[in-house]
């Protein structure tokens, strides 16, 4: 819960209904977490870091060709849940994920499912830009080379250029493609990571605060890109900017202390939230 909303609640502590508001029971998810024929879905998802539970019984569907925004206070488990969807949590030894998770109806945690192939289908842009210590070109070509997406050098060149253009970085770096990616500014690095992710042509793109290091112009570029990508891809984006969530997403999921509190149309969430906690969070930010 954000500070300002706590303060507000403290100030109104005498009023019985706001006192209520302060310890709202979280009992399942309100709104409409389920859709027909989802691209990805989770049922009864719990995540533990060693003994500490970070996600509590999350049930959520992500529709095809939609952008779903995940919002919530810091530490509420947005990144953790996002990492469930492409099994990135497998790389953390103490992390344990339970529940059923599907991609196109296929169990992604099944024994015979290869997390490596899954991650090629469900790409990810991380919260902190993490370019490889390679040239800009090699950074973008990395996934394509791994998965053999380009038959020859000129195809690879085209792919790299197209991905950089989509990520809005090409103009800035077109003469420095062989310079190290780590030498770019923070915002450029993040766009490089986005270019890298879309270069492997995934079906789903998970974006963890992709624009937190970007200026408004680059942010607008990325948002435009997401809008374009929506036609072919499914996107889940974690963001701390509610304006961004409102601008780009069709649905919004509100997480609170590991619980999925509310999922609704973005418009509904921001104008007429069903759950008190969602309302607190949104009004706390907006007002």
């Amino acid at each position: 819960m954000s500070n300002s909303s706590i303060e507000k609640n403290m100030a109104n502590a005498e009023k019985p209904e706001t006192r209520d508001e302060f310890n709202v029971e979280i009992d399942g998810t309100v709104g409409s977490p389920f859709v027909d024929n989802p691209k990805m879905s989770s049922r009864n998802c719990d995540v533990f870091y060693a003994d500490k539970q970070a996600i509590f019984n999350v049930n959520l569907d992500i529709a095809k060709h939609e952008i779903i925004a995940m919002i919530g206070p810091s530490g509420c488990g947005k990144s953790t849940y996002l990492r469930v969807l492409n099994r990135m949590n497998d790389t953390i030894p103490i992390c344990r994920v339970t529940g059923e998770h599907t991609l196109d109806g296929e169990d992604i945690y099944a024994k015979n499912q290869d997390p490596v192939l899954l991650r090629a289908r469900v790409g990810m842009v991380f919260q902190k830009p993490n370019p490889f210590p390679k040239s800009i070109y090699d950074n973008v070509a990395y996934g394509a080379r791994l998965h053999g997406l380009a038959a020859n050098r000129s195809e690879l060149d085209d792919l790299v250029e197209a991905s950089l253009i989509k990520a809005g970085l090409f103009k800035e770096v077109k003469d420095d493609l062989l310079k190290p990616g780590t030498g770019l500014s923070g915002g450029q690095q993040q766009r490089l990571c986005i270019a890298r992710a879309i270069a492997v042509d995934p079906e789903v793109i998970l974006m963890d605060e992709p624009t937190s290091a970007l200026d408004p112009i680059a942010t607008a570029l990325i948002e435009e890109l997401m809008d374009e990508l929506k036609a072919n891809y499914t996107i889940a984006i974690v963001t701390h900017s509610m304006q961004q969530a409102a601008r780009v997403s069709q649905r919004t999921a509100y997480f609170h202390m590991g619980h999925l509190v509310e999922v609704n149309d973005t418009k509904t969430v921001f104008t007429n939230p069903e759950h008190k906690l969602t309302e607190n969070y949104i009004t706390g930010r907006f007002g």
Binding site: P131, P133, Y142, H147, V200
Partner: protein, 499 residues
Amino acid sequence: MAFSGLSRLVTELCSTLRHNGSDQRESPQKHYLEGNMPTQTILITLVALLLFSYFLGRKRSIAVSMSLNEGETPLHSRPQYYGYLVAIWAGMPAILVLTLWSSFNAPIISSLTVASMPETQNTQSADSIGLMMNEIINLAESGKAAEHSDSVLRNAATHYQRLQGISSLAKTAVVFAVALVGMLIGWRLISPETRARNKVETVIRWMMILCASIAILSTVGIVFSVLFESIHFFSSVPPTDFLFGTTWSPQTSMRSDQVGSSGSFGAVPLFLGTLLISAIALIIAVPLGLMSAIYLSEYATPKIRAFAKPVLEILAGIPTVVYGFFAALTVAPFLRQFGEMLGLSVASESALAAGLVMGIMIIPFVSSLSDDVLSAVPQAMRDGSYGMGATRSETIKQVVIPAALPGIVGGVLLAASRAIGETMIVVMAAGLSAKMTINPLEAVTTVTVQIVTLLTGDQEFDSPKTLAAFALALGLFMVTLLLNIIALHIIRKYREQYE
């Protein structure tokens, strides 16, 4: 106490340089010890004085700042800096004087003593004067100078004793006078205009520079001493013979009419032997070390890592002499028997045995350093790769190792120079015969082994046989230097590319 350590170092260095520079056979150790007792007392008193001046300066600056009126410029720095400043003024010039005095004391007194002796004695050659001086000093220090039978020596020794006494008294007086004057200057400096903090900073900077230059100067000193002796060597053996000759038999005979009196100093077989053994060692150590580092940092659970890493590092702690007899007594006979089984003839002292064991020895140099740099690669970078659908080994190969490469190269080069300079294992297991061969089953000899054999036993200092050791050392040094330059170059190039 840093001062005393420093000045000891300086004194020692000076006496070493003096020893190297001149050929006189005096014992610098003696002078050093003999001049040391009063010097030590002076130093301790100086340190006490330094502390005292610090507190004095601090107190004075507090008093000054209290006495300043409203509106006047306050003291530039905090009181402790004025304390440091006074202490520096009290200490630095005094210590400088002390150091200079201590290092020029011995030669001046010696030459004064010699000069005071009768004509017949002080026109001898430098060598015999040195010997005589030794005797005089011994006599003077034994305290039995007055009882000696030879009147010349007796007089010289008492003269020496007297000079020594005057010098030490004068030294004490001068040093403390300088210290007190310095203290006074420091004291007078305490005022709002003095930027004590900046001054102290400058002094500290120069002290750091001094320390660094001592390290550098010692290296330069060693290099030059090796260089000059090598030049000396090359005046009797042509450099081309040394560099390109393929026969190494440094045995020179006592009488010049014997056969083979000249000896031959072709160093190629030695460097070849060093190269062969080091190559075998690296072939063993680099893959094993790198693989174990990768396993430890990327695959092992924290439990296994916590156990395996220290165990690996124990390998580096085993004394090389243990490796040496392991190589000579266990590995070499085993290889011989094994070779016989296959129908190969393996020498009982083979390059392979020495190289194998040396390889095991340097594994931790590769693995420990590589493991550190691999573990330092940020998890986010690995995540990025996994997130693109890369497997673990692809991630290691394409992202982790490239990111860690400078460190890995550093570890390998460290291991290589260790292998090249390693002595004990090869002395015990590689043999002494200088053969032009790259067959690992034969006995070879290395540069280090030959340096050891050249210098053990009774040697004539000026014979080419002894001087050859310096030339070999110079060669060895050149090789390691080259190795380091290459390493730096690789690392810098890599940095430019990826940072």
